[in-house]
Symmetry: D2
Subunit: 375 residues, 4 copies
């Protein structure tokens, strides 16, 4: 049930409520893996989503505890919601749609059962992102058991697959690094103005990307001030980046992808270094290419003038925006950037955006609040 | 004009819009001093406030620039709003209510003119907080020129002055340190279970408290990892803390107040150390005292169990909540804490809360989003 | 063996080596618990100590690995030193002195055996700090099995116990919070100018205090921007603080001690709030009391004028200094501060200082380098 | 005068001083621009340098103040040294050697006079780094007035120019970004195993790089959590990088160089992305190429196994080390990294290393202390 308070007021006068409540059915949503950071962000965003009600939140570690026991920021928001163990029966009986937010190889076991019961699934795990079955063994080390769903799933990047998302029943949300990298490069790859055989993607990410589970690399004294390359010899996200860029270019794109941990908690920045194939491109042309490609996109902002004139995740914290910009480098190369909040546009926010599209809601529903700054 | 989209939908079906727009007049709001951090937060919060429209935003330094030139997080939110110089004429002709967010001594010159023209004023500066005229010279070093308004202004802490705020025309919002300190101590002071002659308030604050103007103490290399006492021999906020605590206790409260800069950007924590005067108080009694005092308060959360069980500003970032808790210390003392986001409950959020009360709106309007965490 | 290079040179000329090496025997040192932060700091400091050679470094988790496998900053410094398991035989046969750096209750089992074999022990664990046997059960939850050594051990705070340290065989180094708190209060407690029944010690500490083992509270996203009270209802260090302050005052000192985690990696600041018992004390008198008490102390710096005029751990990072200052608060109270690097003066540095005293070396040996700033 | 304390001791016995002092003349050193961060680091390092005495430290802003007024970490280290204005007479009469640490275009006016008076100069400013006179106008916007010295000055990167440094009278120390970039690439460029026409250098730097003067970009709330590209369309350091790489390769190297501000205070990391020209290179070959090139280098550490296995500035804080490593990327590309402390190997430390070489001292003198970690 949604409550609408509709006022009739005079200027500065006391508002008079005309209509108190309208009967609107809410979509019932479950979150599998709700105690981690992406789970917490789903709960945060959905707490103010006017058409969705969270009915199930699973966590093996915290079952029986209120969700605000773990997500202490959410005190007061879910007074009656407690973590439960994963139960297919409970999910199918209490939910219309399920977000899945589990380590690799779990979702491919759960998702087929949910789909069979007529539920929709928005999967934040990597299990249905890659179209090539062999990639799962290569990059994630498991044998995929639901290969038939790989073609059915839609890669959850609205800027590339919006139409397919409208008809989707299973959405595979991109990794956060992949989201930033693909959005930075899409206009260049589509317009074919750069050398697709020499593309360098140098990514910087905040510590929340590694999740809520403590480990040495994310231990505060070890992480607070780092500039630390990781997974240098091959990061899993490169598989989906290449899959999508190849698809966009209808050609083979050769990408060097190297992520770096830096000291922030939130944020991912992709810095993409490419060489121009044409001498006729200047900064105005670049701006037009990006503006045209992302025209009408509700969450892509082309960064223009201002006190800070390049994309920086600090400017999108807590929001679903992706700030992008491409600039010419000495008339021979293009540097393009994309900055996102790794937990929002890189995870929970994009998942809600995809859900909105799939359910026919306004794409921005629940995602309207501006970024928080400074922070 | 407010747009309401009212849907009639089937379960997971396409929503059908019944009523597109209802005619509701919006309150027109000006922000004097809109390029700083509190100004930016007012713009952020008001951008999603359903009953308010920002019509004027002043900044001497950035006049002529779009507000998103400075507040780059707000790109897209105020496409037509540009900074202007302060003009009483413009404010009175284009606004119903004005937020003032200036350094000490400016507001006392502007505010009388605005009130005379029938506008309401929510002042975030210290100019109308203190009831004793001499305090302005002592603490702020200026001769107050609008002494007649000191008794008329209402101290903008809803938890202490809600009823007066409903009838206010001039609201003097508390300093952020004062907000945290007073909220931590109020139940103790009112219930008189602690020795009011030995109260220590040790405050920790983030760097955004010092504002957007660069200075050595807030220079990143000098500030990033500090635990730095400041204004030790007398911080201005102590005057309003004592004013309010004396008022609450109907007695003289003797407070040592020492703030410390720490490495966060946002947040203020007041740690209040007091000695019990009664031996009959235990943690349950403390909990009851706080729960009763703050019962029904929309923005006070008494911190109970959870992974983190004491107030910490990290749990309220971006929100108007004040998390409070008091605990017994070795049966002889009470430590009480209050954690706020210094720019929200400590500034812009509390100002909007006060405005909502003054205008008869729902007190939480525009302030419903949960805190952002982790961040 | 120590190598001395003695030069005879002309102004800017090429130096000529007169004497290459002098035969000086080195003290052989073992470190039990060498893979943690305090262990790493001992290795760092001792790597340039001219009279000490580290012959044993134990770590159960990393046995067999070079010490620089864990302490990657020390690459090149200990090319031949590998972690081993703890073996009393190895320690007694290869060491003259042992630093112990283990969780509570381990040292009390090892130390008696080492002392019996004629070794000297510098214990950084709490096992021999407290003189009252019952305190171990109360604060640390174990039955002490070497009670006879409690009176023999010397509390390793040179500013209070230098003479006893010269004759010590077993030194119990203070906790970092205790070091800062006691050094801030000593001159006040000894001079009896403040009310010893109302002493508030509000401590702020960096994340390295909790050690190298990952845990939720020190997980970067959970810790990066906190102002988080912890152990509010009783922190272990209060036992040794009260023991030492009672000893100094020859009376009972009543202390409220509350620590707070803040966002830095290194550092501890004690802010001590006290009420004056005499009206005759001004800031000059306070300065004299502190200057006199700490006259000649090699590692106590009374903070005077400068761009930053209060103690702040950021000014002592990497060094063994304790910066202290006391200031008058409204003629009625005194706020005294002590800032240390929790891993140096709060742990490894103070342990080396104690060792130097015990062995008759220059007290500053190995500890001469200035603090690192900015950092 | 240097004091040598030479001991003769028994095992754990009291040391007996044989020789108290040897007469050794000290080199007298001046620092022009001593109140900034690099100036502070020179003072820090030289305070424990056994052959150097700082006799002059200039600062227009702080003249008359003790150096520890600004560099509060150095309290006690220079009890008699006060900032003075720059005076050529004072420098020539009181110094043998001068470090210059000024904004662009100042040194070219001072340095000729100092050299004429027979002093040696170690210049940390860019004024004598570039050999092509036109580069000064292009990159720094000033007309160089001492062009004759450009060929005489030696680029102060010992790993490339050690022999010339031994005979130098004027040393032009590299920029910090340039140091990291060149050291990461040198073995690749010299061995010509990568495509020199497609070299991407993506640099991350800490906030101390921008100096001690407050500005918006380094204001704590604006800087604490950034991943912010800057000078994207052309950073000054690229000129010296290309000059040195062209020199190494005896060919034209085409470099894209993009720096990024990240949240640390100290550190610079260069991530260099290149494509292999030969298929025969594997990780072992890369390791050999780097090990051979940097064999015997006192401050280059090739990063091997360990808990952290890629270069990260966090592992070299406070030291003059450059940690380097190159790894194969999918058999087609090489990623090479170099991590330095921007204020040490990137500024003051390298300047002292150069001075040591020029004066015939041990190259590591004053620079022996290990990095500080964690921090």
């Amino acid at each position: 049930m949604v409550h609408f308070y509709i006022y009739s007021v005079d200027r500065l006068g006391k508002p008079e409520i005309i209509v108190d409540t309208l009967s609107v059915s809410m979509v019932k949503v479950g979150i599998v893996g709700a105690s981690g950071y992406a789970g917490g962000e789903l709960l945060r965003i959905l707490s103010i989503h006017p058409r969705v009600e969270v009915t199930v939140a699973t966590s093996r570690e915290f079952k029986g505890k209120p969700v605000s026991y773990v997500h202490v920021n959410l005190r007061r928001y879910y007074p009656n919601l407690k973590f439960t163990d994963v139960s297919i029966d409970e999910l199918t009986s209490r939910c219309d749609l399920v977000f899945i937010n589990t380590p690799p190889s779990i979702s491919q076991k759960i998702t087929p059962k949910l789909l069979e019961s007529g539920l929709k699934v928005v999967d934040l795990s990597p299990d249905f992102r890659l179209k090539n079955p062999e990639d799962y063994e290569k990059w994630y080390g498991f044998q995929h058991e639901a290969l038939d769903l790989l073609q059915k799933s839609v890669y959850g990047l609205p800027e590339l697959h919006r139409e397919e998302l409208r008809r989707a029943e299973l959405i595979a949300c991109p990794g956060c690094n992949a989201t930033a990298s693909i959005l930075a490069l899409t206009p260049l790859v589509e317009s074919k103005i750069v050398d697709l055989e020499h593309v360098v993607v140098d990514v910087k990410v905040g510590s929340s990307e590694a999740g809520r589970k403590p480990n040495l690399g994310s231990h505060h004294p070890e992480r607070a001030n780092v500039m630390r390359p990781y997974s240098v010899e091959g990061h899993r996200h490169v598989a989906e980046i290449i899959q999508e860029l190849n698809h966009l270019s209808r050609d083979k794109v050769d990408v060097i992808f190297v992520p770096h941990a830096v000291g922030a908690v939130r944020g991912a920045l992709a810095s993409c270094h490419t060489w121009l194939t044409s001498q006729d491109v200047d900064n105005n042309a670049l701006r037009r290419i990006y503006a045209r490609r992302y025209s009408g996109e509700p969450f892509i902002r082309i960064v223009g003038e201002g006190l800070f004139k390049y994309p920086d995740p600090i400017n999108v914290v807590g929001s679903n925006y992706a700030d992008v910009k491409a600039v010419l480098y000495e008339k021979k190369a293009v540097i393009s950037f994309c900055a996102i909040d790794n937990l929002v546009k890189g995870a929970a926010g994009q998942a809600v955006q995809c859900m909105n599209i799939m359910l026919g809601f306004d794409e921005k529903m629940g995602l309207e609040s501006p970024p928080l700054r400074p922070v």
